[in-house]
Amino acid sequence: MLEIDRIDAGYGRAQVLRGLSLRISPGEILCLLGRNGAGKTTTMKAIMGLLPLTGGQVRLDGQVISELPAHRVAGAGIGYIPQGRRLFSELTVAQNLEIGLRVKNSGPEVLEGVLELFPRLRERMGQRAQTLSGGEQQMLATARALCVEPRYLLLDEPTEGLQPSMIEAIRQVVVVMRDRGVGVLLVEQRVDAVLSVADRVAFIENGRNLETVAADDLRRDHSVIERHLGV
């Protein structure tokens, strides 16, 4: 269980998150929805230890991880794929994946498991990362995070700017990861993309929780979405 417990965080004097709480269980996809500037990306950075918390705690299976340095948070089993992908662009696909594998000195079977999810990458192993298409770059960024075998995965708008077939491919992978028991925190702008994968949806505004509802209920009744996201 990944628990975000009433955290406060922000940039310098500008406080963004105010007493925000979330819980993600293994094998669950929790979606974070909110208007621009609601604090979605900030939430992810705060979990990863990239921003100092001014209040509250982040716990992983009961252990407080919000006091660890950022690289230890990642090492504890949380994978983060930021918006805009961020690859080691001069390196090849294989080298990018290798950096991920070497974090825990994982064997070839881990790489094999990851490449099963992304057959496209297998054909591109010797190619430099910066020459991949946008969708392939997103696949590579995701694949590299999976090479570390995280128990929880934070995805910041993974489908932004991608063509529909790529969006579908990424969606499939997220679902497979969930079925393998990984807990996923997903930030998305597009409500339809969220509803097709999410188990639960957390609405936030101005860095505060509004409500968290089961995705099934949202699919039946769209009025909650209009209320929180409608212009």
Partner: protein, 314 residues
Amino acid sequence: MSDGARSLALHGALLALLLAGAFVLPAYHHGVLARVMVLSVYAAGYNIMFGYTGLLSLGHALFFAAGMYGMGLAVQHGGVTPALGLLAGLGCGLAVAFALGLLALRTAGVAFMIVTLMFAQAGYLTVLYFGPYTRGDEGFVLQGAQRVLFGFDLSDAGVRYIAALILFAAVLVGVLALVRSRFGRVLVAIRENEERARMLGYDTFAHKLGAVVISGGIAALAGAAYGLLFGYVGATFASVQYSIFPLLWVLLGGAGTVIGPFLGTLFMFYLIDLSSGYTSAYMLIAGVVLVALTLFAPQGLAGELRRRIWRGLP
């Protein structure tokens, strides 16, 4: 041929050529090459930080001089054997690099350049300040008996060449092993995108500190060896000029390649050497060539080789 075999062939061939050079080169070029080999060890150390980790230091003369004076003072005033002197030089370099790394790595980018530059200047002034021991600008000469290493007299040109080659080969092999190791791969990841490397779970500060210590250690070893092989220890080697040299050599030869530092050092040495044979304005020729290289081969000589012929060049 696999990348490993090609790399073995290329670097093995270089070492074999240099060994052959010991027997066939005319005296002048023989001497030049011994000097270039030691200086390219210095450049190889610089390359660990600049080429592989992406840390641009403007103060590497501090490490070179730490090695040179660590060795020189121990031999001259401590009366230790040259072998112990080399160790003393290496130890000084490692200690200085560790201390500087702890402080300077709290900064990044331009600030890092300035901090390293300032520490190196402080080091240079320290050498001058302790003039009674270091003899300041004038420096001091190591006498013949102080330069006998394991029974080999380093003032002999033939012995000196072989000693330089052994040092060069050891560092070349060491750097090759380093860049192929997990540690080396992580350094490249840090160079490409430090934040990402951290988010994958790597302690980037510890890796960068390791890079500074290894880089400083190799530079110090080069400094100590230079002093011992050529019998002279002086403050010039601590000056800012000697911080810029390795940067130039590495840029010319190809940053982030194992063979680049040697190519760059060799190229630069002969460029100045040959052009000064034709005109007294040799720095003008050198400058124009440097500008041309920067324009047409911005990745350096080995960088071009990597771009055009062999992508897997380590």
